[in-house]
């Protein structure tokens, strides 16, 4: 506990970490700016313009939709001569436009979660940088060697830093989430556009905060492991960006089934209470031809937590083993 207290003190005293914390909290507060547009009611002039635009579009639809539908069916029929399984879903042409879809007004109850998503990943990234900086600086300055002459038990040293990072990042993530929620709420409250804010909504937001704090803690565990393995902030950021570009974007785009296991999707699932990804699913149609279509797959928050937790555990074990054996220069 003594070491943990010292490491927490060092985490919060480090100027670079303090600046990052300020930036992270400012980012969370910037949710107010994101909410400002949706929270602002439409003016009478804007409403009149929307109505006019809609009526023009609706008139066009009334005149064209049957023809559009027929054209669609005809095109589909031609295509079916080649591939009998083709379905152009021509019914879309018959769906009558609704004026409610043309108004962009929303409420906190409807859009609060969506607006929060605009800042949460940035907050987690900032916390990860703070944690990597906290650990890696000790290696880059050589202070870890001095530290180990006072406490040579490396497992304790690792666990103390890990504990400080998890507590620091977890608590800061929670605080940032609370700031972001209220920053989002305030513009809606100011314009009286909060909508029906029920106890269920607040409970939902509270659960989101807990998940976000958990995500912050897991990101901190991963960041500590990377820092111990790579010993330099730039190297850790480089590896993270390389992973994102090569594995999460390139490989997952080629092999869409991989998206279920990408870090970014699972992180989104955990922080957003579940998410979806789209993958191309192919099967043999009635004609015996291979038919492919994009299908939506859900990723639960539980899976997100388990995947991130698994990665965190594996990386921690590897980093701990390496740190125990590696020479400190």
């Amino acid at each position: 506990m003594r070491l943990l207290g010292v490491e927490l003190d060092r985490f919060l005293s480090r100027p670079a970490v303090r600046w990052i914390i300020v930036a992270v909290l400012a980012l969370a507060a910037s949710a107010a700016l994101l909410a400002l547009g949706p929270a602002t009611p439409m003016s009478e002039a804007e409403r009149a313009q929307v109505v006019a635009d809609f009526e023009s579009y609706h008139d066009q639809w009334l005149a064209d939709h049957e023809e559009l539908y027929e054209d669609c069916l005809a095109g589909e029929a031609v295509e079916r001569e080649v591939d009998p399984d083709v379905d152009w879903e021509c019914e879309w042409a018959l769906q009558e436009p609704q004026i409610t879809d043309w108004f962009w007004e929303t409420t906190f109850a409807e859009s609060g979660h969506e607006i929060l998503r605009g800042v949460t990943l940035g907050v987690l990234f900032g916390l990860a940088v703070a944690v990597v900086s906290f650990v890696a600086a000790e290696f880059s300055t050589g202070a870890i060697g001095n530290w180990l002459t006072f406490e040579p038990r490396r497992v304790r040293v690792y666990l103390a830093k890990l504990g400080a990072a998890v507590i620091g990042a977890g608590v800061l993530a929670g605080i940032a989430y609370v700031i972001a929620v209220f920053a989002t709420y305030l513009p809606f409250a100011a314009y009286a556009t909060t909508g029906e804010v029920t106890a269920v909504l607040w409970e939902d937001l509270a659960a989101g905060g807990a998940r976000f704090a958990l995500a912050g803690a897991l990101v901190a565990v991963i960041a500590v492991a990377l820092a111990f393995l790579l010993r330099h902030l730039a190297a850790a950021i480089g590896v993270a960006i390389g992973w994102l570009v090569i594995v999460e974007l390139t490989f997952a785009a080629v092999s869409t089934g991989l998206q279920r296991w990408t870090m970014s999707n699972n992180l989104r699932a955990l922080t957003e209470g579940g998410t979806v990804y789209h993958a191309e699913v192919c099967s043999l149609g009635e004609s015996g031809r291979r038919v492919c279509e994009w299908t939506e797959f859900p990723i639960s928050a539980l899976q997100g937590g388990l995947v991130l937790g698994g990665v965190a555990v594996v990386l921690t074990v590897v980093a701990l083993l390496v740190f125990r054996r590696r020479d400190v220069s």
Binding site: A143, T149, E151
Partner: protein
């Protein structure tokens, strides 16, 4: 590595057959320390000398558990390390190479963190800062300190533990003469308090002024060890300046008797490896050459060091075979 405690109780540090190799980026193995047997007696200042790359810092790092030894055994105060380092670390203070603290923290903050980590009383921080003369600058960021102040802060950090053994690795590197003297006096003062100080250094004159005993290593092996006075005195007795007529013929007679003899421009013979100066007068006298001057030549630690480590510095060819090195040790007297 064994976990046994076999070291004599009057030794602060003992290593046996200590070996460490490193891999280069090309995969080649480089020997850092090769079968080092090192004994540091309890109390006093022990100089740990060797050319660059001889394995001094690696040895210190191994003793402190920062680097893993490939083989061999190490003990500090009779406790096998690194196995029992956690139980002995409170008695050991160390500064390895340049002091390493958190640059953005003040000197006070750096020491506060260390003091809390080892459970030392907070008041002790103020005391040690005062003792090393940093009380006035304690609130300044460490990065603003001069090298001498950094060294003093590092010494203050080691004193937080009130250690019985202090290890200073090249403590005077980069310091001005006043700083060097300050460090030297600090080391001497600590030794006078009954603590054991191990200091590795290239500044041999400094070591000679402060050290009671020394060990000289090269290429990771021990070349000589013992009291400074014995090492120097042994060399002094073995080297003489000889004044004689026909110096060239006299030098030849000495060389034929196995004594290393050279003649300088002034016609004076410098003979080394002389077991007994009387042998010189007898040898020359029996050949009709009568000595009119026979003076023992004063040797300092630096000349001992240079003689022992000749050709064993960085960039030199591989060391001589074990047998020839042993014969050189025997000729030196006073070594192991």
């Amino acid at each position: 590595m064994t976990g046994t405690t076999t070291q004599a109780p009057d030794l602060a540090i003992s290593t046996r057959g200590l070996r460490k190799t490193y891999s280069t980026v090309t995969g080649r193995r480089v020997v850092g320390v090769e079968g080092l047997d090192l004994d540091v007696p309890v109390g006093g200042v022990h100089g740990f000398l060797g050319p660059n790359g001889s394995g001094k810092t690696t040895t210190i790092r191994m003793l402190l558990g920062l680097v893993r030894a490939d083989s061999g055994s190490m003990e500090i105060f009779g406790q096998a390390v690194p196995e029992h380092l956690p139980s002995i670390v409170g008695r050991v203070g160390a500064i390895v190479e340049q002091p390493k603290f958190f640059p953005s923290f003040s000197g006070r903050k750096n020491l506060d963190l260390l003091a809390r980590a080892i459970g030392a009383p907070r008041e002790l921080v103020a005391t040690v800062l005062h003792d090393v003369g940093l009380a006035d600058r304690q609130k300044d960021a460490y990065r603003t300190y001069s090298l001498g102040m950094k060294q003093r802060l590092a010494i203050a950090a080691t004193l937080l533990k009130d250690p019985d053994l202090l290890i200073f690795d090249e403590p005077t590197n980069g310091l001005d003469p006043a700083g060097i003297r300050e460090i030297r006096e600090t080391m001497r003062g600590l030794a006078d308090q009954g603590k054991t100080v191990l200091v590795s250094s290239h500044v041999l004159a400094e070591v000679q002024q402060v050290a009671d005993t020394v060990s000289i290593i090269a290429r990771g092996r021990l070349l000589a060890s013992g009291r400074v006075d014995d090492l120097v005195a042994g060399r002094s007795a073995a080297s003489v300046r000889v004044g004689v007529r026909e110096p060239e013929r006299a030098a030849q007679i000495l060389r034929e008797a196995g004594i290393e003899a050279t003649v300088d421009d002034g016609g004076t013979i410098h003979a080394s490896g002389v077991p007994d100066p009387a042998q010189v007068t007898w040898l020359l006298g029996s050949n009709g050459l009568y000595v009119h001057e026979l003076v023992g030549e004063r040797v300092d630690l630096e000349s001992v060091f240079l003689e022992l480590t000749q050709g064993l510095g960085p960039g030199t060819p591989p060391p001589p075979e074990e047998g020839s090195r042993r014969s050189r040790r025997r000729a030196g007297g006073g070594e192991q």
